[in-house]
Assembly symmetry: C2
Homo-oligomer: 323 residues x 2
C-alpha cells in the first residue's frame, strides 16, 4: 500500500496521461500531508510501508466498505468536490456506529481522471476523518474516467459485542436518535438555490455519524440496531427481515423543514434505529452521556407480515439502485 499510485504494465490509455502530468511523489506528498495530520499512536505505522500496522484491537473487529462516485453519489454542479470525500468517509464510519463500534482507522482508494483536484477531495476526506476520530492510515491512487472514493473503515467493540440487525424481539421498543428527512430536504433546498451553508444543506453535505449514540446503545444492551442510510421506509423493513419480526409504528418523526415523504424515503440521515426491551434504561444512559434522548416510534411484533404506521400498511420505500 504505502499510499502509492501504481500502474501495472498493461495498456494505459494515452488520453489519461496528459502533458502536464505531475510526478506521483509530489501529489502523494501533498495528499499525505492533508490526510496525515492526526497523531499516530506509539507502535503504529500508518503510511509508508506495505500495509498499515495498528495496535491490537480490543474485542470484536468491525469492517465496512463504501464507494462514492462523482455524478452518482454527488452532483458536482451543486456541491464542491470535497463533499464527495466527506460523505464517503462519513457513510462508512456510520456503519461502525450502527454496530456500536469505535473507529480505529480507515483506508481510502481514490480513482480520478487527469486534472481532478485531488487535494480538495482529500481535504473532505480528512475533515470527516478528524470529526469522527477515525485516522486515515493508508490509501491508493489510480487513474480512471470517473472520480470515485472507496472507503474501508475498521473499528472495535471493547466489552459487549456488536449490536446486529437480527436481534429484535416481539415487544421491544423501536427508537430513532433524531427526526428524519434533513438530508433529503437539504438536497431539495440546494436544488432550489439555497446556499451551501444553509442548515439543511449542511445536513446533506456533512452527515454526522452517530458514534457516541451507537456506543451508548451497545452499553445499554440494545437488541438490534442499524443506521438509516436509505430511509426508514426501506431500512426498518431490512431490520425486521433480519430479525424475522414485524412492527407497528406510532409515528415517523419529521425534521423541521422536511416533508413527510422525505422523512420516510429520504436517505443519508444516518440517524440510528435502535430496538430494545428497556427503553427507559437506554434513554437514561443517553442523557447521562449528554446525548439527545432517542425518540420512541413504535414496537416490534412477532408476526413478520405486520408492518404498519398508525395501523395502515407501511410500504417499502426508499432508494433501490438498479444494476
Amino acid at each position: 500500500m504505502t499510499w502509492r499510485a501504481r500502474a501495472m504494465p498493461a495498456s494505459v490509455d494515452p488520453a489519461l496521461v496528459g502533458e502536464h502530468a505531475r510526478r506521483e511523489d509530489d501529489v502523494l506528498e501533498r495528499i499525505v500531508s492533508i490526510v496525515g495530520r492526526h497523531a499516530i499512536p506509539k507502535g503504529e505505522i500508518h503510511i509508508g510501508d506495505d500495509a498499515a500496522v495498528l495496535a491490537p484491537f480490543v474485542g470484536e473487529a468491525l469492517i465496512s466498505t463504501d464507494v462514492a462516485v462523482l455524478g452518482i453519489h454527488l452532483d458536482e454542479k451543486l456541491f464542491p468536490l470535497e463533499d464527495l470525500g466527506f460523505k464517503a468517509v462519513a457513510s462508512a464510519v456510520s456503519d461502525l456506529a450502527a454496530m456500536g463500534g469505535r473507529p480505529r482507522g480507515a483506508v481510502i482508494a481514490v480513482s480520478s481522471p487527469m486534472g481532478t483536484d485531488l487535494e480538495e477531495l482529500h481535504r473532505g476526506i480528512a475533515d470527516a476523518a478528524a470529526m469522527t476520530n477515525c485516522p486515515i492510515v493508508g490509501g491508493d491512487l489510480t487513474r480512471a474516467r470517473d472520480v470515485s472514493v472507496a472507503v474501508t473503515v475498521f473499528g472495535e467493540c471493547p466489552g459487549r459485542g456488536a449490536v446486529l440487525r437480527s436481534g429484535a424481539k416481539p415487544g421491544d421498543t423501536i427508537l430513532v436518535t433524531g427526526p428524519l428527512g434533513r438530508s433529503a430536504a437539504g438536497l431539495r433546498r440546494r436544488r432550489e438555490g439555497f446556499p451551501l451553508d444553509d442548515e439543511l444543506v449542511v445536513a446533506h453535505r456533512r452527515p454526522w455519524p452517530r458514534l457516541s449514540e451507537g456506543i451508548a446503545a451497545r452499553s445499554a444492551g440494545a437488541h438490534a440496531m442499524m443506521d438509516l442510510s436509505d430511509g426508514i421506509g426501506l431500512d426498518l423493513h431490512r431490520l425486521a427481515d433480519a430479525s424475522k419480526v414485524g412492527f407497528e409504528l406510532d409515528l415517523v418523526p419529521t425534521a423541521h423543514g422536511a416533508t413527510k415523504e422525505e422523512s420516510i424515503s429520504g436517505g443519508e440521515d444516518y440517524e440510528l434505529l435502535i430496538v430494545t426491551d428497556d427503553p427507559g434504561r437506554l434513554q437514561m444512559i443517553f442523557l447521562d452521556r449528554g446525548l439527545r434522548a432517542p425518540i420512541a416510534i413504535g414496537h416490534i411484533v412477532a408476526d413478520n407480515s405486520v408492518r404498519t404506521l398508525k395501523g395502515e400498511t407501511f410500504e417499502r420505500h426508499g432508494w433501490q439502485h438498479q444494476l
Copy 2:
C-alpha cells in the same frame, strides 16, 4: 455495508440506468453466493449487517488497500475480466505477506457500467480469496463508467510484530523468494499471442502472494521486508530509502523465459525482498516449512548513496504512474 448497491439521492446519469436493469437484490444474491462460499467462523458475521464482525485479532492488526481499473491495470483485449478481480485481491493480500501477516478477511468495492459481467468479475475475486485463505467478508457495488475493484485486506501478526521496510542494517544480507521477471515476461508473451494457460502468462494473470514465506521470514526475525510489486529496480531503492542505507547487489536472479530488463523493471512478481543478519537461519526455517530456499542477492551497506549491482550503479527503474 451488507453487500449493498446503493444510490444516494443525487442526480443519476440516465445513461447509466438501462432498460434491462435488473433489480439489485438478484445481482447481489448471485454475487454473495459466489464470494461467500467459505465457512464462517463461529461468532463472526460476514455479509448481511451494517459491518462485518470478526473475532478479536491476535497481535498487531494490518490493513492495506489496492484498486485495479480495467484498461489501466488489465487490458481487456488480452485477458478475461475475472483476472482483474483475481489480481486486485492477490495484490492486496501480497501487502500482508510483505509484513509477515496472516489474512483475516477482505472487503471489495466494485464500480462498473451497465452490462458488466459482475459474476465473472467476482469469480476471479473469489478464486484469489480462496487461494489465499482470505475470506471476503463484505462489499459494495456502484454504477460508474469504469470497471474498478477496490480491495481492502486485513490481517494479524500473532507473536512477533510486523516486519517493516525500515529495519535493514549495514552488513545484513538481501534475499528474494524467487527469480524475477515472470509476470512481465508473461504479459509480453500474451501480447505475442501465447495462450492464457502458458506458464508465464499464468504467472501474470494469477500472481501468488508469498504468505507462507512472509510468515516464515517474520518467525526468523528478518530485519526488513517488502513485496516486489513494481520491480526490484524501484522497490529495493524504496526499502533502502526507508532504512536509510545503501546496498551492493551481486546478482538479480532472472526467471527462465524472462529478459534481464523484465527481471529488474517488470512489476507484479510479488516475490518478497527479505533483509536479515542471519540468512542461514532464514533458509533453514524456509526449508523446515517446505518452502523454496530464498536466494541471497547482495548485502546492505551504511552509505545510503551506494546503490550498485556488480559494482555498477543500480539506477531506479520500474513503473512510476503519472497523476
